[in-house]
Amino acid sequence: MNGRTVAALAAAAVVVVIVVLLETSGTNQGAGTGSDGGPAPAIPLASSVTSTKQSSVILAMGHLDDPPNTFWQLFLRPSGNASWSLSTPPGVADNGGLVVAAPASGPLTAGFLTSADLKFSPVAQTPDGGSTWLPGSLPAGLIATPDAIAAGAGPDLWAIVSGETVVASTGDLSTWNPVVTTHDLATSVAGCPVVAVTAVAAGPAGRPLLGASCAHGSQIGVLEIGSSDVGSTVQRWQDIGPQLGGGDSGASTSVLRLEQTGDGMAGLAEVRQGSASSLVAFWGAGTGDQWSRSAPIAVPAGWAVEATGIGGGGGKGGSVVLGSGTRRQVEVIPGPGGGWTAAPPAPNGTAAVAVIGDETDAFVPAGSDLSVWAWPAGAAGWTRTVTITVPIQYGSSN
């Protein structure tokens, strides 16, 4: 073999190695899509609220692997009524998501999350349980969290919009004023390095309470304006949330739900310590720092929170749906002083759960069909009660 041949072989070998390295280095991936997700943890939008007036459930239906053909639906069940009815507000494509504020008294207010080329969030309000809807709009898009919008006993409304700004309205669904931003909170709230605002609720004093995601600390981030600062141009917020247990001190926390109940507040929070995650329910008057807290339930590795619910039981209950693949596990808690109870294994694909009195309803979507399964307290298993066919408008958002 002469020198030319050796040189040729060497050159060929070098080129082969380079080509293989390039192929295996991942440089051949197509255009990547950057995530514009902010620092807030992903909180599932599927949710429920049960008050003395009604129960409401929000979940996604349609082709869940195809965003333009995924449509979020609102179902309502008035108190005392055994049937769920489709009550999705009309007039806007809701491929991006849907959130509601469903107070025990006053109208129900829904907000549409942004999707495709719609960059601000329309809102709609119904005084009659979904028969008629009044339109409005927010100045920006709602954040993707179940309690992104809240309604007080009166006309007051609050919402968390992109840019993590809390805005408020005094009843005009199209006129909103800024209240506070995450940035302001991050620099001013002691005890909770605020990473994101994750929930808003109507506090007992007619002022908003904010649920927050805290980078670390010894208490769950429930924020209110200092009483001395009400009406002032300079408002200082303070963390009045429940203290974490000793073992969780220093953990990062996120408020998943924060709702006004008949006589106070109820909430759900996720506590993360390293790779471990657990959920706690908490209740309080909503003023000061008098809270009670449930024992935590661990979120097993490989499982995630799929849906949350507030209400039921005695009115202050809570519920969560944990999911791993198609498997689902429902946990319910009746209220302060009670413990978490694991329901029988929920139907595969359960997307949301609602507790009405002593009965827990699970919602299983399959395309345009929604099956409702009931688990009465003490029963051995789930029973399908009804299948609702929803007129999903496939292709309308393509």
């Binding site: 040729a8 239906m61 339109p135």
Partner: protein
């Protein structure tokens, strides 16, 4: 309506018709130029004949002995000339204007790195904005290069043809084939690596070399060794584990090679050929390991044979031809079927290059050819170069000197047109004609690359041609985004573009709004005489705050000639009825469905045009095209 319109198919009749019309017009221009060149040549011959008769000389004058063009150069020149012509004819396929980006360019870049996709995106964008012009340009450029290679056998014209081949080949290789998918996974010579057009570039380089480069065996050795190294690289890649070539197939899906062959078999083509390719795919699925082993051994053996040369060279070349033809038939499937095939793939040009190298090595010319003449050289010296005269032509002839060769009586004192060889003049005319063909293609392509506004024909392909009407536009009394009352009568004296938009729409309405905004910009100073008006097409979200929010979202809140009008539900319904607009609420989270139409109303309040505003697939070029179409309609109304 919710549910965007579909993209025009590759065979859209309007686009195809426009493409053919462009080819016809350009063809007519080329024909006229060629006729003029032929006439000029005939006039020249006639004058020379007359002069020869008058002076008693022979006509044409006897030609001295010539030195032939090196055989290797001749093969590569004619071979690639024929290939460029064939490729130019392939570009005439009707599906090329719309099918080239979607069926050829984008798939080639789909698995390439992001930076390659961005680079290719420029080519896709340019082509997509001007599909008919781009497709026609590709036809003429490639035909012209091919013809120039054939009609200009020697000298500067031939070398220029080689350079043109290099230039256009590189453009196509980068922007049209994503570097021949070199940066995508699964690189293999069996599928076409390194890209057929890159081999055209190499051929062009060889043609562009001075003819003295073909003297001796050095060039031939370089070519054969280079091809040999390339084949060794391909053999190594073919043998490398984990790249899918050792597996013929699993129960679920075919292996890489079988899958490619199956895909090629599904291309529209004669049934006999698809059966042949499909049969090979099935065979490879069952014997993938063995076939790959064979391929690796053969590629490596041929590569070594080409590198070592001597007695192994001829068998290696023959083996490559046999294997190459088999690959061209059974795997590459000839490369040009399906309606958007752009070339016969890489194996033919690779074989051509290899044969060129072999001939350049074993049949290299021994004698030096004459020094090349400068462009200003005497036609006689140029003729010597063209005809390959012997070294009798003084090599030290100063560049630019006009010294006639002593070839006949009375040559002194003659004009250039009297002394030029008619054969050379004919080839010169042909070369000029070929250059004209290239320029007829290159000029529109260059113009298209800098014109950021897509052809209005794209919008017409999606939405149809605007309807010409002549009737009074129904009046309306609504309020604008600031709550101020506005009626159509208030807009007398302006040309009005009117449409109907949903302020909380998620898809087409924002696109239409942007098209209106761009159309206003395209009007330039005339925008001051125009109003772009939208009326709410949502019976629920009809508040002033909703339209204001939409305007701010779309950046229209500061556009002075933009109005977004709304009113009560009954007021809106009456306007929708008057304009024939449907708008109805969809259940279960669906968008409000409404008609997508625009009306161009003149300054006297007469509706002059009705256009569909369906954005189609919402590609950027479609939006640009509609904006241009709307602006052109508005401009016509403004000036009528």
């Amino acid at each position: 309506m919710p549910g965007m319109g579909a993209a025009p198919g590759a065979g859209n009749s309007l686009i195809v018709q426009t493409f053919h019309q462009a080819l016809l017009r350009q063809g007519e221009l080329i024909f006229v130029v060629l006729i003029l060149l032929v006439v000029a040549w005939n006039v020249l011959r006639s004058l020379q004949y007359s002069r020869a008769v008058a002076s008693g000389e022979r006509f044409p004058a006897p030609r001295p002995a010539t030195v032939s063009e090196p055989i290797g150069r001749k093969v590569v020149r004619i071979g690639f000339g024929a290939l460029w012509i064939f490729d130019g004819l392939l570009q005439m396929q009707s599906a090329m204007p719309l099918g080239m980006p979607s069926n050829v360019i984008q798939p080639a870049a789909a698995t390439s790195p992001t930076w390659v996709q961005h680079l290719v995106g420029f080519g896709v964008t340019t082509w997509s904005r001007h599909p008919s012009a781009a497709a026609a340009s590709a036809v003429w450029i490639q035909l012209g290069i091919g013809i120039l290679l054939l009609v200009a056998p020697r000298g500067l014209w031939s070398r220029a043809a080689g350079l043109a081949s290099v230039g256009w080949g590189l453009v196509v290789w980068v922007f049209g084939s994503a570097f021949g998918s070199l940066f995508a996974p699964g690189l293999t010579v069996l599928f076409g690596a390194p890209g057929a057009v890159l081999i055209y570039v190499v051929g062009g380089v060889l043609i562009a070399l001075p003819e003295r480069a073909w003297v001796g065996r050095q060039l031939g050795r370089i070519i054969t060794v280079s091809v040999g190294v390339f084949l060794l690289v391909m053999a190594g890649l073919q043998a490398w584990p984990g790249r899918g070539f050792w597996q013929g197939g699993t129960a679920d899906k075919p292996g890489t090679l079988a899958g490619m062959a199956q895909q090629m078999a599904t291309t529209p083509q004669p049934h006999a050929l698809s059966s042949l390719v499909s049969s090979f795919a099935s065979f490879d699925e069952a014997h993938g390991w063995g076939i790959n082993l064979f391929v690796v051994i053969v590629l490596a053996a041929i590569g070594m044979g080409l590198i070592q040369g001597r007695r192994l060279l001829y068998p290696a070349v023959v083996a490559l031809v046999v294997v190459g033809v088999a690959d061209w038939i059974f795997i590459e499937d000839f490369g040009f079927w399906g309606g958007t095939g752009t070339d016969p793939n890489s194996m033919l040009p690779l074989l051509l290059l290899t044969v060129t190298g072999y001939l350049a090595l074993v049949r290299a010319p021994a004698a030096a050819v004459a020094e090349e003449a400068s462009p200003a050289a005497t036609p006689i010296a140029e003729r010597a170069l063209v005809e390959g005269e012997s070294a009798d032509v003084p090599a030290a002839e100063p560049r630019g000197a006009i010294e006639p060769v002593t070839e006949g009586v009375g040559s002194r004192g003659r004009s250039w047109w009297e002394r030029i060889d008619p054969g050379y003049a004919g080839r010169l005319a042909a070369a000029l004609g070929a250059v004209v063909i290239v320029l007829v293609g290159a000029a529109p392509m260059a113009a298209a690359s800098v014109n950021r506004t897509a052809d209005p024909i794209l919008a017409e392909a999606i939405d149809g041609t605007p309807n010409v009407t002549a009737g009074p536009a129904p009046d309306f009394h609504l309020v604008d985004q600031r709550g101020q009352p506005v009626s159509l009568a208030d807009l007398r004296g302006y040309a009005v573009a009117l449409t109907f938009l949903d302020p909380v729409c998620t898809t087409d309405c924002p696109i239409i709004a942007q098209e209106f905004r761009v159309a206003s910009q395209m009007l330039g100073p005339n925008a001051q005489r125009a109003k772009f008006v939208a009326i709410v097409a949502n019976p629920i979200y009809n508040t002033v705050s909703a339209v204001d929010a939409f305007d701010r979202q779309e950046g229209l809140d500061s556009q002075p000639n933009w109005l977004f009008l709304t009113g009560s539900r009954s007021e809106l319904q009456s306007v929708w009825n008057a304009y024939g607009i449907a708008a109805f609420v969809s259940p279960a989270g669906g968008m409000v469905a409404h008609s997508d139409e625009a009306f161009v109303i003149d300054a006297r309040g007469t509706t002059r045009r009705v256009l569909s505003t369906d954005p189609g697939p919402a590609q950027a070029e479609d939006q640009s095209s509609f904006a241009g179409l709307l602006a052109s309609q508005m401009s016509q109304v403004l000036h009528s």
